[in-house]
Each structure stands twice: as structure tokens, then as C-alpha cells.
């Protein structure tokens, strides 16, 4: 069709710098949200198994809401609505810094915390009561039985879904584009606007996304293989 591919315009000079800064922001967003999501997820699981009824209801509602509302809507809610709910001082504080990154990071973390807590919980529930009894029969208390017997096994069961959610978390950082965070997808569109090299720009960033996804998938597969080799 008379169209000649030219990656040079994208992989050099200013555009390459845009690309790299976008990639860096994507990775930062992924990592920070992942850590926060996991911490929140663990807290949610603990709350849910605390035996305190209102806490359990809260977690159930939390999980259902975050799983049944589109993540993009959650991101938009954080961006447009949450600052309105803050007191004046909080709004000013947000406006003074680049709050988009922070808000999308929180949106991703709060959403994926729900998914991760469910992964952890189903891992816990899959460990038969008899394992617990065997630990108690040896003389371990509740917490130590949890520590040595139940949690190590539950964590192994939870690892495959957790890896899956990590991958989805990474991919969904691209939603940050909707509120103007300059991560990889946004930068790709900027480059595309600047060069009109649509095909090349999207090829390059798709390949970048794929490479990182494959690293996560391969790491996950290796981890799972190692777990399978040991016991269960």
C-alpha cells in the first residue's frame, strides 16, 4: 500500500525518552499498587476470619462492590468524586501535587485488594480441618498451627491466582490513561500524535507490554512448578 515501516522516528531522540519515561511510570504504578493491594488484601482476609460479624459483613460488601463495578469506573470515581468527599485541606493537598498518579494507584490497590483477598481466602478454605487438628494434636496453639501448618499450605494454593491478578494489575495500569497519567499507553498516543506513525508506535508499546507480561507469566510458571515438586 505504499506504506513503509519506520521505527526510527519512535526509537530515537525525544520520542524514545517519552517511551522510556512512560514505561518507568507503568512499572512504578504496578509495583506500588501491587504492594499496597497485597497488604490490604491480607488485612481484608484477617478481618473476614476475625469472627466479628460487622467486620465480616464489611469485607463481604467491599469485595462484591470492587469486583462488580468496572475498574475504569472505580478509577473515574477516585479521580472525579473522591476529592470532592475530602475536607478542604485534603483537596488543596491533592491539587498541589500530581494527584493523578496517587489516585489511580489507590484505585488499583483498593480494587485488586478485593481480588487478592478472595484468592487468599479460597486458599485457606481449601486446607482441610484435619490439618488443623493434626497441628493442635501435636500441642501447637491456634496461632502456631496457622503459622506452621495452615498458612504455608494456603499460600501455595493462593499463588497461581495471585500471579494471575498480578498480571491483570500490570495490564490495567493502562487505565491511568483515562485520567491523564503519562504512563506507557498515554505516551504511546502522544508519540502517535506527534509522528503519525500509528502502527509503529502501537507495535512498540504492545511488544513492551507483552515482554513484561511474559516475564510475569514465566516467573509464575516457574514458581508453580517448584511448588508442585515439593509435596502436594
Amino acid at each position: 500500500m505504499g506504506y513503509t515501516l519506520d521505527f526510527g522516528a519512535i526509537l530515537s531522540g525525544e520520542h524514545l525518552r517519552w517511551l522510556i519515561s512512560g514505561l518507568r511510570l507503568t512499572l512504578e504504578l504496578t509495583l506500588s499498587s501491587w504492594v499496597l493491594a497485597l497488604v490490604l488484601g491480607v488485612i481484608l482476609v484477617l478481618l473476614r476470619s476475625s469472627g466479628i460479624k460487622p467486620a465480616e459483613w464489611f469485607v463481604t460488601a467491599y469485595v462484591e462492590v470492587h469486583q462488580n463495578v468496572p475498574l475504569l469506573v472505580q478509577v473515574l470515581f477516585w479521580y472525579f468524586a473522591v476529592p470532592e468527599l475530602l475536607p478542604e485541606a485534603g483537596r488543596i493537598w491533592l491539587n498541589e501535587r500530581n494527584s493523578e498518579f496517587l489516585l489511580v494507584m489507590l484505585a488499583l490497590s483498593f480494587c485488586f485488594a478485593a481480588y487478592m483477598s478472595e484468592a487468599l481466602r479460597s486458599g485457606m478454605r481449601a486446607i482441610p480441618q484435619t490439618q488443623h487438628e493434626a497441628g493442635r494434636a501435636l500441642g501447637f496453639g491456634y496461632l502456631r498451627t496457622m503459622q506452621y501448618v495452615v498458612i504455608p499450605q494456603a499460600a501455595r494454593l493462593a499463588i497461581p491466582p495471585l500471579i494471575n491478578y498480578s498480571l491483570l494489575l500490570f495490564k490495567n495500569t493502562s487505565l491511568a490513561m483515562a485520567i491523564g497519567v503519562h504512563e506507557l499507553t498515554t505516551q504511546t498516543r502522544q508519540i502517535e500524535n506527534d509522528t503519525f506513525r500509528t502502527f509503529e508506535a502501537f507495535t512498540v508499546s504492545t511488544v513492551l507490554y507483552l515482554m513484561i507480561s511474559f516475564v510475569i507469566m514465566a516467573g509464575g510458571a516457574l514458581l508453580e512448578r517448584r511448588i508442585k515438586r515439593e509435596g502436594r
Binding site: V69, L71, Q74, L76, L85, K171, A178, T185, R189, L210
Partner: protein
């Protein structure tokens, strides 16, 4: 919140229709249903490819699945946005773009759900069909796929919920769907983001939660049927019905 609803419910529901293009919640559901309808046959083909006796077919199917699973849906939308017009040789509207992206993306995910359904069947099923003299396609079409699709029904419904949630990304390429309608209302009102986005979120929640609960009920029914049929000692692998954002 109620006054906003009273004023804008039609815009939320159908967009500019009938004076302009159909939009709103109805458009969202329509896109999702079209997406599912077109993706299912592709997914079945990919699932059969994943377990094909021919290595090159298996590799090709695995390649498609892993590539799609490794790409953000937003990227797929952009590929559809720029690529589909070139492929089809004419400009396309936002709906077709969005449906195209959904079909491409969801085929891979649905295929994995169907494959899990197939692999959860006891080996004896295929052997029994082959022993009767059915050929490969008869075995798949008459014995394996009907059972596998039944087993996979809950996961397919869960995946449909994901599909509905994914249509919200039409907002990014300005497709007139539900999220876009809400953003429009928000722009008109300017001072009521909490109320507007709460309406958006609550409506999505009502639709998706209902379907999720239905999927859970289905899963129990399917599990009962399967356990009823399984013989002693045969492991009844649980079907993963994990929801995704």
C-alpha cells in the same frame, strides 16, 4: 442524586436516542451481548486448537491465547481502532471498534474457560466415544463439547460479567455507552461528580452483581450434577470461576 436521575435517566439509559445514536446502559448491554455472541464460536475454535492432536495447531492456539492475555485491553482497543478499518477497507464506527476488540480479547479468555471444562471431563468419555466408532469431530461435537460447555457455563457467565465491565473502556475512544453518558452528564452538571459517578457505579453493580450471583448458583447446580455422575475415586476437579476486573 434522585433529581439527577429524574432529569437524566433517559440519557443514562439510551444516550441521545432516538435523536442521535443509541447510547447509555442499553448500548453497553448490546455491545456486551454482541461481543459474547461473536466471541463464543471463536473461543470454541481456539479451545479445540489448544487440545488438538496436532502440535502446530496447539502451538498456534497457545500463541494467540498468551499474546492476548499479555496485552492490556486498552491496547487491543487501539489495535481495533486503527487496524480494523485497514483490514475492512472502510471506516467503522465506535460500536464496531469496541465489539471487535471485545471479540479478539474475550475469545482468548473464554477459550481457556472452555478448555478447563473439557479437561475436567473424565478421560473415559473420549475413549468411550472413540470406542463406539465416532470420529474426532463427532466425538468433540456430540460428546465432549456439550458436556464441557455445560460444565463451563458458570465460568462463561462470570466472563460475561467481565465483558460488561470491559465495555466501559469504550469511554476512552468516545463510544456512546453508559460510562460515556455519565461523563457527559458530569460535564453538564460540573458540581455533582459524587452523585453522577455513584449512579454509574451502582447501576453497574446492580447488573453485574445479579449476574455474578446467578453464576454462583449455576456453579452449585453444575457441581451437583457432576458429583452425581462421577464415579467413586474419580477426582472432581473444581472449575475455576475466578472473576477478573
Amino acid at each position: 442524586m434522585l433529581d439527577i436521575l429524574r432529569e437524566y435517566w433517559l440519557l443514562f439509559l439510551v444516550g441521545q436516542y432516538p435523536n442521535g445514536p443509541l447510547g447509555g446502559l442499553v448500548a453497553t448491554l448490546l455491545v456486551a451481548i454482541c461481543g459474547l455472541g461473536l466471541a463464543l464460536p471463536c473461543a470454541m475454535a481456539i479451545a479445540l486448537g489448544r487440545i488438538s492432536p496436532y502440535m502446530p495447531v496447539r502451538i498456534a492456539a497457545a500463541f494467540v491465547v498468551h499474546t492476548v492475555r499479555g496485552t492490556p485491553f486498552l491496547m487491543v482497543i487501539f489495535w481495533s481502532y486503527f487496524g480494523l478499518p485497514i483490514l475492512l477497507g472502510r471506516p467503522i464506527n465506535g460500536f464496531v471498534t469496541l465489539v471487535g476488540a471485545l471479540v479478539l480479547y474475550e475469545s482468548a479468555y473464554l477459550a481457556e474457560a472452555i478448555r478447563a471444562g473439557i479437561e475436567a471431563l473424565p478421560r473415559g468419555q473420549r475413549e468411550a466415544a472413540r470406542a463406539l466408532g465416532l470420529n474426532y469431530w463427532q466425538t468433540m461435537g456430540l460428546v465432549i463439547l456439550p458436556q464441557a460447555l455445560f460444565n463451563a457455563l458458570p465460568s462463561l457467565l462470570t466472563q460475561f460479567v467481565s465483558l460488561i465491565k470491559e465495555t466501559s473502556l469504550g469511554y476512552v475512544i468516545s463510544v456512546n455507552e453508559f460510562t460515556f453518558a455519565a461523563a457527559q452528564v458530569n460535564n453538564q452538571l460540573l458540581t455533582k461528580p459524587v452523585q453522577v459517578f455513584s449512579i454509574l457505579a451502582l447501576t453497574f453493580f446492580a447488573v453485574c452483581f445479579t449476574l455474578t450471583q446467578t453464576a454462583r448458583r449455576l456453579e452449585r447446580i453444575v457441581a451437583r450434577r457432576r458429583n452425581g455422575m462421577a464415579k467413586d475415586g474419580e477426582p472432581t476437579a473444581l472449575l475455576a470461576t475466578e472473576p477478573t476486573p
